[in-house]
């Protein structure tokens, strides 16, 4: 298919995935592909990216869709092997036959297909050892062909094939094997620094090889199912839309990455807000006082600059299983902009409750503080299942008196109380003393008050319950808070 025809499907998919592509940008992309040949793969990808993606957090999503629409297509990727291999492929095969001939002492001629799994693993190890890129790529192809067991038309996701391929290659033990071999080969003993650097190098090669396999599987799936269907299966939310409660490990990483720039921007925005546009009403007395030097003419009107006191914040967070990630991100967020508040105190609970403010005070490293919260805080009272009622009661007993008219209290959790007593009077009392009490719930609104969720019962006493499923919503809430 000519490039221009692919473009409309490609851009439609970007929009489906949530990228805000405007008409101008669409047109720019059309111009871009006219001046950069698609064969110049990397430059072509970046040229498209430069016209269509104006936010780095969206790059990963863009890359995936790009790969689906523009990665090499052709008969050699067909799952049924009736295509003709291209020149590069033929060359690789010859090279491999040679390696095989030398390495295993057999004559060449059998071709790749005759290699045993053990031989493939051995070749892979050699390629990883020397960092031979072309060989790694060829082996990735070969491994997928041999081990993934892909069948045309079978409705199975890419992860399944990835798993099958990797299992056959014994990649889990590869790092250790490479390190051992490396140690044996080097003449002197490696220093710990050298070992560490070697290990990082091998890890990056293995990672690269894995990605090569993933791409290969994806290419074949695209060839089998078509780009559109494939893009749909791969569709992933943007980092700011990933649900805290269902984030995979990978998504957690991207969330973490997205969090920091977000807080930085928010802090800058808030600081600007404080500095500017804060002209209050006319300060009559001050104006008159100054007018004396103009002979009583109020030539230089003075305004009052209201300096609203920064709020004091108390964060009370459920950190049990399903909502732990949400608590973590909210705490990180709040502490990243803590100078927007006059004071921040934090408390975590499951069925017991503990103050964790001190962990954030003793280090500049928020990540480390969060780790300590998770490992050291004393939050289990009976069985380690959320008991909001008991946790709130203890909170009130110990810290209730610290709530003042300057305090904003944030209660975090899904309010799934395991059918324990609610003790919602505590929230009512909090609201009486505090400036504001808000509840942030990481569950979708439609789940509230179903099953053992009693967020409505607590929420009735607060100034508002807010759905906070993702970074976007969390950021919006925090911005309005300060």
């Amino acid at each position: 298919m000519p490039v221009l025809d692919l473009m409309s499907g490609f851009i439609a998919e970007l929009r489906n995935a949530g990228l805000p592509v405007s008409l101008t940008e669409n047109l720019d992309a059309m111009e871009a592909v006219k001046v950069i040949p698609i064969e110049d793969r990397e430059a072509f990808k970046y040229a498209l990216g430069a016209t269509l993606v104006k936010n780095n957090a969206h790059w990963r999503v863009f890359e995936t869709i790009f790969e689906v629409y523009f990665s090499l297509r052709g008969p050699e990727y067909a799952i049924t092997k009736d295509g003709q291999p291209d020149d590069f492929w033929r060359e690789m095969q010859e090279q491999m036959d040679q390696v095989k001939g030398q390495g295993e002492g057999k004559g060449s001629g059998g071709g790749m297909d005759s290699l045993t799994p053990e031989e493939i693993t051995a070749m892979l190890m050699r390629a990883l050892m020397s960092g031979d890129q072309a060989m790694m790529r060829a082996l990735a192809k070969q491994s997928v062909q041999r081990f993934a067991g892909m069948e045309p038309g079978r409705p199975v996701g890419g992860t399944y094939y990835l798993y099958r391929t990797l299992r056959n290659l014994d990649l889990d033990n590869m790092l250790q094997k490479l390190m051992d071999a490396n140690r044996e080969m080097s003449k002197q003993e490696l220093t710990s620094l050298e070992e560490r650097l070697e290990k990082d190098e091998f890890e990056s090669r293995i990672e690269q090889f894995k990605q090569e396999i993933e791409s290969e599987i994806r290419r074949r799936l695209v060839a089998d199912r078509g780009a559109e269907a494939m893009a749909k299966t791969l569709r992933k939310p943007l980092p700011e839309d990933v649900e805290f409660m269902h984030a995979s490990r990978d998504e957690m990483q991207s969330l973490k990455k997205a969090l920091y720039p977000l807080t930085r921007k928010l802090a800058a925005r808030l600081a600007r807000k404080r500095r500017h546009g804060r002209k209050g009403p006319l300060d009559f007395r001050n104006t008159v006082r100054h007018s004396l030097s103009y002979g009583g003419v109020p030539a230089d009107p003075k305004f009052r600059y209201p300096r609203p006191a920064k709020p004091e914040l108390m964060v009370v967070a459920d950190i049990s299983g399903s909502v732990a990630a949400f608590a973590r991100f909210t705490l990180m967020f709040v502490y990243a902009i803590q100078n927007q508040f006059s004071k921040v105190r934090s408390f975590v609970f499951i069925d017991g409750i503990d103050e964790v403010t001190k962990y954030f005070k003793s280090t500049e490293d928020i990540g480390e503080a969060i780790n300590r919260v998770n490992t050291e805080a004393d939050v289990v009272w009976v069985d380690g299942h959320s008991d909001y009622g008991h946790a709130f009661e203890v909170f009130w007993e110990r810290y209730g008196k610290d709530i003042t008219s300057k305090t904003t209290v944030l209660l975090l959790g899904d309010a799934r109380n395991n059918y324990h007593a609610a003790q919602s009077w505590v929230v009512k009392e909090m609201a009486k003393r505090a400036r504001h009490v808000y509840w942030l719930n990481p569950e979708p609104k439609s789940y509230w008050n179903t099953g053992d969720s009693i967020v409505g019962e607590y929420g009735a006493h607060t100034d508002g319950v807010f759905e906070c499923r993702n970074l976007r919503q969390l950021e919006g809430f925090v911005e309005n808070l300060t």
Binding site: S22, T24, E25, D28, E31, A32, V35, I36, D40, E42, A43, F44, K45, Y46, A47, G49, A50, T51, V53, K54, N56, W59, T191, S192, L193, E195, R196, L197, K199, D200, E201, S204, P261, R264, K265, A268, R269, R272, H276, T363, E364, D365, G367, E368
Partner: protein, 288 residues
């Protein structure tokens, strides 16, 4: 207008000749900027060569670099143009009796009395220029709007003079450290380039190019250690400029291969926060 570059590869090799190590992404976007006549908005972590890219492109194309350094409070009179009031006043007083007011008026609002600031200068220049609008995220949103006309039309409207249109389309680079979200309007007008930390090979090349007499072996080791350190969860990962500072320090100390102790003792050049230094020191001395 004649394109400045034949293809992406020319951009890349040309930049290398002026000691800037680009990857295909960077080179591709620079090439595209020339072909489409569009400004490039460059974002990325501190010290990754955003500003340097504009400078190097100027050097490569033999163009004059005109730089507008942004800061909070930058306004029209510093970015675009300003009338030279003193000179205008003198002119009015000198001719008090002879000319009619309308003549004087036309005269004092002519180019002679105009003080050109970087943006106008870039537009009116006869010779080729590269315009660098550095750290654009520092100006207020309202000031950002000033840029829009220039960036899309390559022209400036001056009420008293009319519209001044560029004689040639300059290459324009804007850099941002991402301290605030730039307006959609600005982003739409620009090509977007995210410059990240370089990969191992490119960083090594940068070190080899920028640090005189450094050995291949040391450059390689430096790039590897920096890569390992960047993988840690740090407050502020080392930038390219910090890598270069570190390389120069090691050269001064006469170190040929780095051992763990030397690395630890010089970490403060790479890392700025005490917690980061402690973390890296711990990581470098133990194999996991």
């Amino acid at each position: 207008m004649k394109p400045r570059f034949n293809d992406v590869a020319t951009v890349r090799s040309g930049l290398k000749n002026v000691n800037y190590l680009a990857d295909d992404g960077i080179a591709g976007v620079v090439y595209l900027a020339d072909r489409l006549g569009k400004p490039v908005l460059i974002e990325g972590p501190a010290g990754t060569g955003k500003t340097q890219l504009a400078k190097s492109v100027a050097e490569l194309t033999g163009a004059r670099l005109i730089r507008l350094q942004c800061y909070e409070g930058l306004d029209e009179s510093k970015a675009l143009y300003e009338w030279n009031y003193k000179k205008q006043l003198l002119r009015i007083q000198a001719d008090k009796n002879s000319d009619s007011w309308s003549e004087v008026h036309d005269d004092i609002f002519s180019k002679e009395f105009l003080l050109t600031r970087p943006l106008l200068e870039a537009i009116t220049s006869e010779d080729p220029v590269v315009l660098l609008i550095d750290e654009v995220d520092r100006v207020e949103l309202e000031t950002e709007a000033l840029l829009l006309e220039i960036l899309s039309e390559y022209q400036v409207s001056i009420p008293e003079l009319g519209t001044i249109t560029a004689k040639q389309i300059p290459l324009v680079f804007l850099t941002s450290n991402n301290t605030r979200e730039l307006s959609e309007a600005l982003k739409r007008r620009c090509l977007y380039l995210h410059v990240d930390y370089p990969d191992l090979e490119r960083e090594k090349e940068i070190v080899l190019n920028k640090v005189p007499d450094i050995s291949e072996n040391l450059a390689d080791q430096i790039a590897r250690i920096v890569r390992s350190i960047r993988q840690l969860d740090l407050k502020k990962p080392p930038s390219v400029s910090e890598t270069l500072d570190w390389a120069r320090t090691l050269m001064l100390l006469g170190i040929e291969t780095i051992d763990a102790d030397e690395a630890k003792e010089t970490l403060h050049i790479l890392l700025k926060y005490q917690t980061d230094i402690a973390k890296a020191a711990k990581e470098l001395s133990v194999t996991k």
